[in-house]
């Protein structure tokens, strides 16, 4: 009896050590929100629940709704950007074949990423995709044919700014928010720009 208790204790201790040692690293490539003051997620609406205008009968956090709207507007801007076109040919080929899964995934993954990066703590909105480094490296992601250069990254950030403006946020009426979001995106530059 005594032996069984000791064995059980050893097993439990081992499992706990194993589990905690394997905890998710905090040094991921997902940018960490600024700790001082309200998070960006709070500033774009936070956790207040509102009805989802595109999914009747469902509720959504205002913060996610705002970010999703910005992401979807930005996708339109990016899709119309001749400079960034080479990165979107697979997506357009799929859309031409009436396969919209890539578009949905792009919107959802990008929104999840923005929620996580701006400080959302809702597990349902967590980003579960590849690290930015792997996602933009053809060796690890067969949907990207070439590495991103600095000029294309800067254009991408500019397009996000246009997406923000389409949602009523610009450097004139909310320079601080625009600057903070751009600064957040810039933290991913070192991982995304690989040539």
């Amino acid at each position: 009896m005594k032996k069984s208790v000791i064995v059980a204790a050893i097993c439990l201790t081992t499992v706990s050590i194993f589990y905690t040692s394997c905890k998710k690293s905090t040094t991921t490539t997902t940018p960490t929100p600024t700790p001082a003051g309200p998070t960006l997620y709070t500033r774009v609406g936070g956790t207040a629940m509102v009805s989802d205008p595109t999914h009747a009968g469902t509720m959504i956090e205002q913060g996610r709704l705002t970010l999703r709207s910005v992401v979807d507007s930005s996708i339109n801007v990016i899709a119309a950007d001749a400079q960034l076109q080479p990165y979107f040919t697979v997506l357009f080929a799929e859309l031409g074949a009436h396969n919209t899964s890539g578009l949905t995934a792009l919107s959802q993954n990008f929104t999840d990423f923005m929620c996580t990066a701006t400080g959302s703590t809702n597990a349902a909105y967590g980003y579960g995709g590849k690290s930015m480094k792997d996602a933009h490296n053809p060796s690890y992601n067969n949907r990207i044919s070439m590495k991103v250069n600095a000029a294309d990254f800067d254009k991408f950030v500019g397009d996000i700014g246009t997406g923000l403006a389409k949602n009523g946020v610009n450097s004139t009426n909310n320079a601080q928010l625009v600057n903070d979001l751009v600064a957040l995106l810039e933290t991913t530059k070192a991982d995304i720009v690989q040539r």
Partner: protein, 145 residues
């Protein structure tokens, strides 16, 4: 007696290894959190203009297409002459929208279709990763979720 003791130790060790392995699998599933993405029926299409379109005309085009049933959003890149719009697949199709726009304005424009040679290029929107670890993680994630 000695043999029984060895068997007992071996069984305990195997149990511990099994428990650790199970914890590892659950842990991988928890940290990767595989999310199934279900298409929401929203389509995106693009029309390229080969004639110069100024911002006034671009607004007219956006307004016309934006008011078609099922069209959700529009964006016109005036500098490059590229028009993009999203719509519900159940209500519109790209050829229909294009034909209506051409009837409206007789523009010099064409629907953007990807050249097969370009289709090898891509965007990291969702993509599969061919590495062993990625495949393992995705497989385990799918099994558990």
């Amino acid at each position: 007696m000695e043999k029984r003791k060895i068997i007992k130790i071996a069984l305990i060790s195997l149990s511990v290894v099994f428990v650790l392995f199970a914890v590892l699998i659950v842990h991988i599933a928890m940290v990767t959190k595989y999310k199934a993405v279900e298409p929401d029926g929203r389509q995106l299409s693009r029309i390229d203009f080969t004639e110069k379109v100024d911002s006034t005309e671009a607004n007219k085009i956006k307004n016309f297409v934006g008011h078609l049933d099922g069209v959700e959003s529009t964006y016109f890149n005036v500098k490059d002459g590229i028009f993009v719009y999203t719509y519900a697949l159940s209500k519109q199709n790209s050829l229909g929208v294009y034909n209506k726009l051409m009837s409206y304005g007789k523009y010099k424009a064409h629907r953007y279709m990807v050249d097969p040679s370009e289709a090898t290029k891509g965007c990291p929107a969702m993509g599969g990763n061919k590495s062993f670890m990625y495949s393992l993680v995705m497989y385990v994630g799918k099994l558990i979720n």
